[in-house]
Amino acid sequence: MPATTDSSAAASFTNIGRSILSLRRDQVHSIEGMNMQHHDADTELESFQKRVTDRFLDLSSSSDELLTLSWVQKLLQSFLISQDEFRQILFRNKSQLHKPPMDRLIADYFERSVKALDVCNAIRDGIEQIRQWQKLIEIVLIALDNKKLIGEGHFRRAKKAMVDLAISMLDEKESGSALANRNRSFGRNNVRDNLHKSLGHFRSLSWSVSRSWSAARQLQAIGNNLNAPRSHEIMATNGLANLVFTMSFVLLFVMWALVAAIPCQDRGLQVHFSMSRQFSWAAPMLMLHERIMEESKKRDRRNASGLLREIYQIEKSTRLMNELLDSAQFPITEEKEGEVRQRVQELSMVFESIKGGLNPLEGQVREVFHKIVRSRTEGLDSLGKGNGPD
């Protein structure tokens, strides 16, 4: 499209903008900047984007840390800070909020954030489930306490707890067949026994959501229709459209990562993540996304109930422990005993790594919940004052 006449100048501006999207962010930004009237708003939006980018760069810096409990805590912390900044910027630009298209964009964001609340609640359940595993591990550790002489009784006790743990960590759908296995391994065929066991023991955690709730669907709903704002929207909102888009993406990513890491009902990770690279945070976020997806596709993680590193460690340690316990013949050799103590040591480390982290994590998830609610309430209220009744 030849940029010859004045009337097509605007069009060509847009074209130029789009064609250098792959280039430096500040070039793009300077085009937008020419149309912005509020230079202050400009800087604050720019620095918001920068800080978000920095946080995601930090989150993607260490591959060892990825998906550990402390990484998840860091992720939530960066959400909380971003949400705070987002809220402040909105507050400072209150007068802009009920002018179209900003009103619609903001309302959309609040709708998405409400969907995130259900994810927070589901994650809370998931954390509780990990706590149950923690309790079972504790039994194993007590049974095979390194101080005492390890006897057959101790082994059997540990074995019992390990089997319960293994079943509890399986996907709900598969627990039926595992049930049968469990009973076989103890030689029980009592039908009533089975029924009681399945009733009482293995459904010890029921999700607080109905059977039809799906984390995967919820994530898809959060990411639904999340498109980069067009240039006329950016201009009409003095750049605030980019702010909302950024925050929406942060929300989506954080919720997605939580679902990836922590067990929850119908944990699907296939969410459409197309971020236009014109945003500086897109690159680190996409990289994290890729790495997490890679992790999920690994052979030994494909059926994991959650990608949390500590869960993986539990799986590994318990598998090794199970093998050991299965293969042990009494009286055990000193060598075997040494192996046992080693496994116990490993398991103990996993236990420690979870023990301190679950409560703070739950607290953070609750805080995310509250922040989202508060921000939405404030936002809807101030929107309401500008509009008539719906």
Binding site: E152, G153, R188, G200, R203, T377, G388, P389
Partner: protein, 630 residues
């Protein structure tokens, strides 16, 4: 050569071990098929003694390494067995709690049958008061539902909620498991915990009791709804769920959870520090969170005016429950539950405030321009007045919740879109009262704007008169509302509608009565000092035409209040009739002496009197006018 004690010990250990091994379910068919605690009591005692014996052997120093291994093995087998027995006993008593009778109407008076002693019956007076309050909320303007603003028709009485008050107004623990069974459970728990198997014990306990609570929840109608589910529901459906939730929550906190707590205390009492508490939380934390999630979802739902009263109901129910929540969840580990409940409470309060604000906004901005036919009461007026009447019913709660004055335009703001209001003259009123007055102010402001859409200036005033009068009547009909609005403001409004009546009269009747004036009819000077017949004829013609027009039009106007209607008609008559009578008296002879007097004198005084009765009836009269009777 062994000392006698050891010999005795060995023997005791062996026989104890035999018993333990006999009941090893992994070893024998018989052991699998029978449960010790379901059978012979002697066997139970024997088994427990055997376990004790094995326990004693652990600490015995006289047993060698090999022996220790045997002891440990025996312990493990015994503990595994006890775990199964424990689970089995608990499972047998899952459904002991008859939930249904506690949640239904007391008129079926079945609630006392399920408890096994220790009924706390609450103060009957309290219930009567509650019931009375519910019925008051029932009172609604019956015409509301026929208007488009019928959102209030669901804020009717909560008599179904009051039915549960009698049975669930305070904490009442019931026996979930019979005493003898608790003894057994205690015996097992003691031994498991002494052997270091606390975690297995609490795990079993928690999972079985949790499923018991689960089934109670189902029967109480406590659902697993996500926030998304609740957002998608229609408000009607939600109201029903809220009502049900309030009923269920009272049962859950005061009976269900309290009873579970007592059960934990009974079974794990004196066994170790805070074990009963840990068990209780293991059992109840999940269900409690599930229960409160519903109230939380309601507290964050979008605000709209029709939600106010149910939200207040929910708020009040939670306020009432808080002391009990604090008693039942009094330990450190249950902090999160108490905190969540408190958060929900404060959000509900916020929501109530926000809704009131929304409501005020909605009243101010209500945009409909279609004039109400006949100048009668506008649906907005009905809606708003009914709404604030209901608000005054909830006065007790709202007075505490509403803490700030309404944000109004200042007296000198010059903002044409908001009325001014100076609260200085309303010293000593509660913020709630100020809000209610403010609502009435903005209602009138909005109505004023709407009135301008009438083409006929008289109708503008009639409309305002009708509506302001209605407001006054509604305020007077509710003692709480009247007390809050205050007689001063009431007087102001009365003055306003009286002024509107006066304005109406001026707008309509001045020009009609102008036809009956004296000036301009007399020809002075010259030879004949008399009356201009042509002018007179014109006068009569104009009067007839105007009156006919006014009569035809204003018969279709409506003043719904009969007293006001009467008053206005009388007021019109008082001016019209004497004027016409006097005019007729003085000038009829002049017309009658000319041609076709009937064209000019169309009305007798009685005709006029009768015609006035047609005014403001709200339906058209036939065009057949009464002729002069003479």
């Amino acid at each position: 050569m062994e000392p006698p004690e050891n010999y005795v010990l060995e023997g005791s250990f062996e026989s104890a071990e035999k018993i333990i091994l006999r009941w090893d379910s992994t070893a024998s068919e018989e052991a699998r098929e029978k449960m010790i605690f379901e059978g012979d009591r002697c066997e139970v005692d024997r088994y427990l003694q055997a376990v004790d014996e094995i326990q004693r052997s652990i600490s015995s120093t006289s047993i060698s390494g090999d022996g220790q291994s045997k002891v440990n093995s025996a312990i493990q087998i015994a503990m595994a067995r006890l775990e199964d027995e424990f689970r089995n006993i608990l499972l047998a008593h899952i459904h002991a709690f008859d939930v249904d009778s506690l949640a239904t109407d007391p008129s079926s008076s079945s609630c006392s049958r399920t408890e096994s002693g220790g009924d706390h019956f609450d103060d009957d007076d309290e219930d009567r008061q509650q019931l009375g309050q519910e019925q008051e909320k029932d009172h609604l303007d019956s015409t509301t539902s026929s208007t488009t603003y019928d959102v209030l028709k669901h804020s009717e009485s909560n008599t179904s909620v009051s039915s549960s008050y009698r049975s669930t107004s305070c904490i009442r623990e019931i026996e979930l498991i019979p005493e003898e069974t608790i003894e057994d459970l205690k015996n097992i728990a003691q031994r498991m915990i002494a052997a270091g198997y606390l975690r297995e014990c609490t795990q079993v306990y928690g999972s079985v009791r949790k499923s018991a609570i689960d089934s109670s929840f189902k029967r109480l109608g406590v659902e697993k709804l996500s926030i998304g589910d609740i957002q998608r529901l229609e408000w009607d459906a939600l109201e029903t769920k809220i009502r049900r939730w309030i009923r269920a929550a009272k049962v859950c906190v005061r009976i269900l959870f309290a009873s579970e707590k007592r059960l934990c205390e009974q079974i794990f009492d004196g066994i170790g520090t805070a074990i009963d508490d840990a068990c209780f939380m293991e059992t109840v934390k999940g269900p409690a969170i599930q229960l409160f999630n519903f109230a939380e979802a309601i507290s964050i739902s979008r605000r709209s005016p029709e939600k106010l009263f149910k939200i207040l109901d929910l708020h009040d129910a939670l306020v009432e429950l808080m002391p009990d929540i604090e008693i039942v969840f009094d330990s450190k580990s249950s902090d999160s539950i108490r905190v969540q409940a408190a958060e929900i409470l404060s959000r509900l309060a916020e929501a109530a405030r926000g809704i009131l604000s929304e409501f005020e906004n909605a009243v101010l901005k209500e945009p409909s321009k279609v004039p109400v036919p006949g100048g009668t009461i506008h649906p907005l007026t009905r809606y708003v007045m009914n709404y604030i009447s209901l608000i005054s019913d909830y006065k007790q709660t709202l007075i505490e919740l509403i803490m700030s004055k309404p944000s109004t335009g200042s007296r000198y703001s010059g903002d044409p879109s908001t009325p001014d209001m100076d609260f200085a003259e309303l010293e000593g009123k509660t913020p709630l009262a100020l809000h209610l007055i403010w609502v009435i102010v903005i209602l009138q402001f909005n109505l004023d704007g709407k009135s301008k859409h009438y083409k006929d200036a008289s109708l503008v005033h009639l409309f305002m008169m009708n509506n302001v009068h209605y407001i006054v009547q509604k305020v007077k009909s509710s003692p709480e509302l009247r007390e809050m609005i205050g007689d001063d403001y009431l007087r102001k409004m009365t003055g306003k509608f009286r002024q509107a009546a006066t304005n109406y009269q001026r707008a309509t009747w001045v020009k009609v009565l102008y036809c009956l004036r004296d000036e301009g009819l007399h020809i002075s000077g010259g030879f004949s000092s008399g009356v201009s017949k042509s002018a007179l004829r014109e006068r009569f013609k104009s009067f007839n035409a105007m009156f006919e027009e006014v009569h035809r039009t204003q018969a279709t106007w409506l003043i719904p209040d009969s007293q006001l209607r009467e008053e206005l008609r009388i007021s019109i008559s008082e001016k019209l009739i004497p004027a016409y009578r006097s005019f007729l008296g003085r000038f009829r002879s002049h017309i009658e002496s000319g041609k076709h007097p009937e064209n000019y004198i169309k009305y007798s005084v009685e005709d006029l009197e009768t015609s006035v009765l047609d005014f403001f009836e709200g339906y058209p009269v036939s065009q057949h006018l009464r002729r002069r009777s003479q």
